[in-house]
């Protein structure tokens, strides 16, 4: 029997694929997962990774500090010490106020990266030639952006809970005290993610330049606050607060948490350090809700109409 010659590389030729194919849902979740990973810099340049990393660091910084305080307080209480109840609503409500500023930067970066490049490089035809429906692409992008932002909103607050859980011996007691806040936390994170995600996507869909999209989102977000302050100073119309994007979602959040400390209202507050403007009476929660829904629908409509043109 002749032995096979050694050191020969055999060209097996083209091998057809005979395995199974995933359906439309598989394709959709593949897109969501890869876009979600890219939102956090996986598979991206070191510059993007650095920028996202810095933003996340600033968002997490107070949570790290608070976790340290909790650990310290728990240590001082000693073993078997009294259960220390955190002022959760105030704490988390304030935390979302802090997150809000950084979230604007983060959503601007993520949405610009997710939407602008594909349109700039005209990659859409390659996606559309795959076994997906026309709007699955946009749906996947939206879900990835919303999920990334929601997680970023949720994790700092959640980490505070987590440390609290770790330090308490009676977990049941902790759960009883804080359980209701978990739902609130999830809901608020979702509200922030959808609001800022839709807003940033709308701006990003208007240009193919990542720089313009990022800058535009931040500029519009910040200018909205400034315009609201100026108009309120001039007119004393309480509804001018609705021109500030952060006040709309902040107002809704405050209504949910039962507190009033959005950034714009702090400026207006007679009890605040500025003490230059009168605090406009807090609007009814349904007003914030209505404006919130209106803005989100308007943003989604802008994105939809831009992509409708792209699909033709």
């Amino acid at each position: 029997m002749a032995s096979a010659p050694k050191g020969v590389i055999y060209d097996q030729g083209y091998r057809p694929y005979d395995g199974r194919y995933g359906g439309r849902n598989y394709a959709l979740w593949t897109m969501v997962w890869t876009d979600f990973q890219r939102a956090f810099g996986i598979g991206k340049s070191w510059k993007y990774k650095l920028a996202v990393g810095l933003l996340l660091f600033f968002m997490f910084l107070p949570a790290l500090f608070l976790s340290f305080v909790i650990l310290l307080l728990s240590s001082n209480a000693g073993a078997g010490g009294a259960f220390i109840k955190l002022p959760v609503n105030e704490l988390l409500g304030t935390y979302f106020g802090w997150t809000n500023n950084w979230l604007l930067f983060l959503c601007a970066m993520i949405a610009a990266d997710q939407l602008c490049n594909d349109r700039r490089y005209r990659v859409l035809p390659l996606y559309l030639a795959r076994p997906i429906q026309n709007y699955d692409y946009l749906l996947a992008k939206s879900l990835a952006i919303f999920a990334a932002l929601a997680i970023v909103c949720l994790l700092p607050s959640f980490s505070i809970y987590f440390v609290k859980f770790l330090k308490e011996e009676n977990l049941g007691q902790v759960w009883d005290v804080y359980a209701q806040n978990f739902g609130l936390l999830l809901l608020t994170s979702g509200l922030y993610a959808v609001f800022y995600g839709a807003f940033a996507m709308a701006i990003a869909s208007l240009t193919t330049s990542r720089g313009y999209a990022t800058g535009g989102t931040i500029l519009v977000g910040m200018l909205s606050g400034l315009i609201a302050v100026l108009l309120y100073s001039a007119s004393k119309n309480q509804y001018t607060v609705l021109l500030d994007l952060s006040s709309v979602v902040g107002g809704l959040k405050n209504a949910l948490f039962g507190i009033t400390n959005s950034s714009i209202e702090e400026i207006f507050s007679p009890g605040s350090s500025a003490q230059t403007a009168n605090l406009p009476p807090t609007l009814d929660p349904w007003v914030y809700g209505l404006v919130y829904v209106g803005i989100v629908i308007a943003c989604i409509s802008i994105v939809y109409s831009v992509y409708k043109r792209e699909y033709k």
């Binding site: 083209y14 394709a27 991206k44 035809p125 795959r130 997906i132």
Partner: protein
């Protein structure tokens, strides 16, 4: 639609407002390597998008690989690979990541998609460069990457829109060889849309020609070039009229301009007949050249015919 039919359309029409991009195209395209020819704006890309189910026809219907393009568009796109004409690659992503992702969106599990990405990139001739961002690629390599993403999910048919556009002669040769391999070694069906007649002649068995959104010709190259496929050009001296008359009596088709004759070539027997007739009539054949007509000649004749028809109308 029988098993050897790749594409079948019935009155396929696409209108954008008042403009008609494709006008009642009815055709049956057999399996093989097919060239879709037409000038810029003839409706080639519209036809491809309709065949992929990306556009909904205004009127008529189309079936590709036995699937209705409107009803079964998702299943169809799983079985078809598409390489667009335009630059369409994300320049900030590595070729490996991009092709793998495209494979997964087509339904391949991640491990299989990675495996097949390596296979097809090897096949198209992209080596270690596959780990570099696509923005660093030359035009030729980008075309290969576009071809790789069209092949990664193991389609049964690949639609290639201007696959050699912008490539240098060497790159063009490589791409045409690759397309030949796709048909011959991989056994895939191929539809190549192009305005380069030379490309079609090299890689296609048959041709579809559209102009102004209408189907103007369809068939194998031999059928299209038909009786004009080959001819003999002669320069003669002597009693030309007698010579031509004798040849016409032998049922040869001849066009004569002065001492230049063009004779339809049917078989080698025509040489013997020419020599014999020339000897009998005292004509000297001073030059004889056999010419094979190309698609370019076909197009020139098509243009000339249309212009003549236009003048008559």
């Amino acid at each position: 639609m029988n098993s050897s039919t790749m594409i079948e359309t019935q009155g396929l029409t696409k209108r954008y407002g008042a403009a008609t991009a494709l006008d009642a195209v009815t055709m049956t395209v057999p399996d093989g390597s097919i060239g879709l020819l037409g000038e810029n704006g003839a409706g080639k890309t519209t036809l491809i998008k309709l065949l992929l189910g990306l556009l909904i026809p205004t009127e008529g219907s189309a079936r590709v690989l036995g699937l209705d393009t409107s009803r079964d568009s998702l299943e169809l796109r799983r079985r078809v690979g598409y390489m667009p004409e335009d630059e369409c690659l994300p320049l900030d992503v590595t070729c490996m990541d991009f092709v793998t992702r495209m494979g997964m969106i087509s339904g391949l599990p991640k491990s299989s998609s990675i495996q097949r990405t390596h296979d097809v990139l090897h096949l198209v001739g992209i080596g270690e460069e596959r780990f570099r961002p696509l923005g660093t690629y030359s035009t030729g390599m980008k075309q290969k990457a576009k071809l790789a993403q069209a092949l990664v999910h193991d389609p049964k048919l690949v639609l290639l829109d201007e696959p050699t556009v912008g490539m240098d002669p060497k790159g063009r040769e490589e791409m045409l060889d690759l397309i030949k391999d796709i048909r011959q070694k991989m056994g895939l069906k191929v539809l190549v849309s192009t305005h380069l007649l030379g490309d079609v002649e090299r890689i296609c068995d048959s041709v579809i020609i559209i102009r102004g959104g209408q189907l103007v010709a369809q068939g194998t190259l031999k059928e299209l070039l038909g009786e004009l496929a080959e001819s003999l050009h002669l320069r003669v001296a002597g009693p030309i009229e007698t010579f031509v008359e004798r040849l016409r009596k032998e049922n040869l088709k001849i066009e004569s301009v002065g001492n230049q004759l063009t004779i339809r070539y049917e078989s080698d027997a025509v040489y013997e007949l020419l020599m014999k007739t020339a000897a009998e009539t005292g004509v000297q054949i001073r030059r004889m050249e056999r010419e094979t007509l190309t698609l370019e000649d076909f197009f020139v004749k098509l243009h000339a015919k249309e212009e003549t028809d236009g003048v008559r109308a």
